[in-house]
Symmetry: D2
């Protein structure tokens, strides 16, 4: 991560940013009943309560413990309970059992948050000048970390609610503003060339976006918007889920084992398709981007149509310099919306790329325990780009690299097509 | 089940009994936070919330739906969500996923209870005389069913809380009254003879306790009290958990696979043994009955000492005619207490028997869906007798047959020794 | 096990008996290719090669090592490789991986057998008179043990061959002699009474058949023959495998999980049923006894017809004193044959009983490692009676207790019905 | 795959090449007992018999059936039994159960081979000129396919034999010729530049090596030989297998779950290390290349030493134009040998790269079923380069891309280090 001119951020601005993000997390929980905070319907999601506590643990562990001399941990076992995966910090409670913890209660977790927020305020106010640069860096990292968990929290609530036969709604949302007419699909061509990708210069970025480096891209074309439900439905109805020849071998195996027949959250009632949303069950809308597909499905869909997925470098070069605008969490739709003609480069759905998540050439993880943040996951996953409708807008940038396993479907994942030129 | 003179129970008394048991369930939940209602730490336990709803479903399904013409189900999906295992009623939500349901909320479940209680009151008041005998029978069955779930609820809360690294207490309890001195172990001898066992005559009993029938017992002796922690600790410290020759082959396999080294809830800290209780961690007390052992451990312990477990008929004959008194849930200890010299025949710990849970000769299950209550479980399990410290006293009788799988350890299970005479 | 008048058996006769049984095992392997000796298609079967070696290990371990001073083990690792489950002898190679051992080769295993046979001959000839009683006992036990493995070998070969898409035949067999007309089903009634069951007196028996003891039987009736394929087919075609109400809960769970739709080895082609036999695929014959059903299926079939399974004591009392004649392995049919009117009490199919496999009252296992032979399996299994078409006739007797898990279907298991009188 | 000037290969030469490779497979089986042909000790290996049959099936399916009009399949079920993974050819026998097939016997499989060889000879002789180019292509592909299975066969035999407590030898082998003194480790530096990689022009290559394309490489250095056992032992003894910080997160999880403590086939006896080889157990030799490590171990070792693994492009550029010489199967060592100073670019051990196995830009799989050969595996695996001591020399070339999952250890896999310049 790089935070330039760190020593220049005023203390009041730093604290305001911290408090705004912390408050935002709690606002996102407002529609939840105490009961909802506890659920872990599948091992890959975490209970909302755990997200609230873990993000707090992050500030306690990486800010308060090392930098605030007078700090006394809120509870001796929280270090163990709310460590996610930092081996160099210590052992941690098994991930798959997070839903088995009724204590601390939701109320206690909020008290934990309040106490850490209070101490963080003291730390920002009192930190000596020679520590200030490090303080800015770590708070900025922690704030970005908490934004990631805001997105995870919404993803996980959706997964939990979709697992319930009652199909409850997280909250009502306004319908997406329908464009006058569907955005036509066009192709953006780029000739061969050497380009620079990766983060450099001012502003925050995660370590996995560095170093900036040169890449050679082949001539190619990128679609001008994401694949829609209507387009994907053709693949479903053409028997795409029953034809191994479209699929990677590992993908086909998962498809059979998990009995996939459509994207996650699609369900058919009679001859009509519905989809589960954060506002409950809604009819499938043709012009919305298809969402909640795995890499395997995205790849099979592209192959079926004679196309391919873009590489992460192709997407980065295409979006470099563009303003980061789109359907993010601030739109409050909490659902992908039909393309409006602006290229749909940001927001709506995370776009699967053909790029395995690997270190950039010359990559160095952060020193110390924070080096575990990103680097140790650089195998077996694929890169996704652009953010989605539950990502905070201020969290996104063209160099941002998200990553998931090829079978993951519960993030808000979609498809942009590419082809060789 | 047999409820004699059913038509004689006054309506007011019937309703009072119903209400007392229903209220008791809710009282048992009073120490729980909303968070605690939701937890299912292992597949064999159910969340407290589910127990509250399922017992209500029982009255709704077997009383209100068939007998109260005006009754409208509280919610269309509850039939599916809160059916435990009645195949002839319909499909049911998977048992292992009961902890994944945050909705209905605890508050809604209490509303469900209140509504069913209200309608049940109306049903008792208004039922025509020719239905009244059936009404008494079904309410009595439902009340006994709810008492079983009161015990399960406490067993399950203990299991959930023991799984937490915080080892929370359900509530504080008074220490067990220590007897002046430990009850000596003596042996009660009985010569060979033909005896009658099983239920007949007045009073309620489950169908699995019938029909009353004659059995031939061999000469034998029964211990005058349950095995204590101190006695069991000798087995542990003699390497009992590392010596396959004491164990049944299936038991040894479980012991190795699960890495058993002591009863469930025992833990060693330094060289001192502790045990998890409903009041939190407490030092292991030598004179308390050993509790939370599987059939395999009970059998291995008996074999190690050159003894055996009693049969269910030996225990029934020994307890027939004795008053049902002991350390039941009403003592509020919620933990087995040292023997006081009365034979410890009831309460404290369920006693594993050597008897597989099989139908009595001539057994006929109840007609209809209620025939699934007991009969379909008559394989692969062992009979336990006598009730325990979390059983309601009014729920117990000498003919009562409880049953669990030989590897189960989360019920309050203990050991009484026997030997051939 | 009891072998009376052991010291009286002449040495030559003892050796002849030993040699006959050993030779018989090898004859049973004659139809096998070297390839066939190696297969373990499911964990519960053992490769034929393993049976050949293990039975030899039994004589080496329990006769040659302790009693023949000059004996040097054939190979230092065979004690580990061919120990089945004797914990007190030492550790053993994992059962589920027996099919992973290509060495020793079949040829080496036959050399192992020859060497042990030779030394056993020397032992019988040279044993001092004061050891002779023990010698007779152990050889008799070993011979009976080898007969059990002869049956297992044929069961396992059938299981292996049935798993092959080629459905190979072990060998051709003559068709069963069809009776002039099917034996009618009649009922043998017995009034209540106290009877003696279990082994006593002259002749060999396993320890689990002792001690002889008195039991009280209720009035009941037993069917005069085993259930036929034709009768069982009615259950299948009436939807018996889709109706949970006929099944024990544990059985229904297995039935669903394993997708059972008929007995093991039945397969439907078009609208015709076939069954796999040791002679390959043959059309299902209506009048043959149904075979290869689990206890769960046997119990469900009986319940569907309003009947029950007999207890092991009812069967023992019914067969006591009857000559042990029937369709055993010596008939060379290797398949159950239609009832001929003699009650079908022995041979054809092992009859599931309603009796859990438990110790008889007063049971004491053999001393030392041989005590592991039977006693440690006395939980979770059910008793079967009467022997089957691949059992050696000389191995059977009315007190014989076989035992399998309720889900096991690969033994030659069938059904005799009973009912209360 | 590209076979240039295909129509120019004389028929006799084509057939001679075919026959030589087919004969070679059978020679590799010469040390096996019939018993050994059958074993599948873990799901990822195949029985030798299956390799013999499957390679034959390949010629039958892709040559004889489509191109020899008079051809009648050898057996109707072999298409199903010996299809590995070609979904578009039809369904196939489950991979994990290949060790459960005793039929066809080894003898029958050799007859199958002979028959197909005979018909292939006829096909080569009689094919009309307009089919000849396609014939050369398919036979060349089939011959390369069979060479891959020669290597798999030796890998799998080693895995099977290592699983046996007897640790049998496949055959005795000469010790590796020890170099006068160990080859020093030096670093070959290369500055940044654009290079071409991938296959083009004359000679055979698989489709996954195409198309040839330009890549931009960063300045880097490559080690002059593979990592040795002695070097790797330092990592082991420094606690490398107990320190999560060296490992990728997925790798650490596998390491813990599988209880890895050293490379596959290493075992410690007292304080001495041994390794299982195709010649049986041998002391671990310090100067031999470390072998049978997973990608996770290779990556952790590199990270521990402050280095990294090379990319596949770095290795290809380094080896381009070098003669393909090294310790291949023809040396008959069947084991990696100490580096001799020639860079060890080929043979000895497959070198893990940091490159996920992805399609080259513009990649097009072969048309039809043969398109399943390589393309559908392009996810979740890593590329390996250079061949090993059980690879046929004529099978290797600088553009060759092998691929395995990151946890795979049973191939002859080793490590070459790299670093940024």
């Amino acid at each position: 991560m790089i935070v330039s001119d760190m020593a220049m951020t005023p203390r009041a601005a730093l604290l305001a940013r911290y408090r705004a993000v912390r408050r935002r997390t709690e606002q996102l929980c407002a529609p939840l009943a105490v009961d909802d905070y506890q659920i872990q319907s599948v091992p890959e999601v975490s209970p909302p309560k755990w997200h609230l506590a873990h993000t707090t643990w992050f500030f306690e562990t990486f800010l308060l413990r090392p930098l605030l001399p007078a700090y006394r941990p809120f509870h001796p076992r929280y270090e163990y309970l709310f460590n996610s995966y930092y081996e160099t910090v210590g052992t941690f409670y098994p991930r798959a059992e997070r839903g088995h913890l009724s204590r601390p209660t939701v109320e206690e977790v909020y008290r934990y948050r309040a106490r850490v927020d209070e101490c963080l305020g003291a730390l920002v106010t009192e930190a000596p000048p020679d520590q200030y640069r490090e303080l800015v860096f770590r708070i900025t990292l922690g704030v970005n970390h908490e934004q990631q968990h805001q997105e995870l929290l919404l993803m996980d609530v959706k997964r939990n609610f979709a697992a319930s036969p009652l199909r409850p709604a997280y909250r009502t949302t306004p319908p997406a503003p329908a464009p006058a007419r569907p955005a036509a699909l066009t192709w953006l061509e780029r000739p061969e060339g050497v380009f620079e990708v990766g983060h450099a210069g001012d502003g925050f970025a995660f370590d996995n976006e560095t170093p900036r480096h040169r890449v050679l891209l082949r001539p190619h074309r990128l679609a001008s918007r994401a694949v829609t439900n209507g387009e994907y439905l053709e693949f479903v109805e053409a028997g795409g889920y029953r034809e191994p020849r479209h699929w990677l071998a590992d993908g086909w195996q998962v498809c059979r084992k998990e009995k996939w027949e459509a994207p996650l959250y699609w369900e058919k009632s009679g001859d009509k398709w519905w989809q589960m949303t954060l506002a409950g069950l809604r009819p499938l809308a043709d012009h919305e981007p298809v969402c909640h597909v795995s890499f395997y499905e995205a790849d099979a869909f592209a192959r079926w149509g004679g196309r391919r997925l873009p590489t992460e470098e192709e997407l980065e070069v295409a979006t470099a310099g563009r303003p980061v605008r789109g359907n993010f969490v601030e739109s409050e739709l909490l659902h992908p919306a039909p393309a409006g003609g602006d290229g749909q480069w940001f927001g709506d759905v995370w776009e699967w790329t053909a790029s395995p998540y690997s270190p950039y050439p010359g990559f160095r993880p952060l020193p110390g325990s924070l080096g575990e943040y990103n680097g140790k996951f650089m195998v077996n996953q694929l890169v996704l780009r652009g953010g989605c409708c539950v990502t905070p807008e201020s969290h996104m940038r063209p160099t941002y690299r998200n990553f998931f396993y090829p079978h993951d479907r519960w993030p808000f994942t979609g498809i942009r097509l590419a082809e060789d030129a």
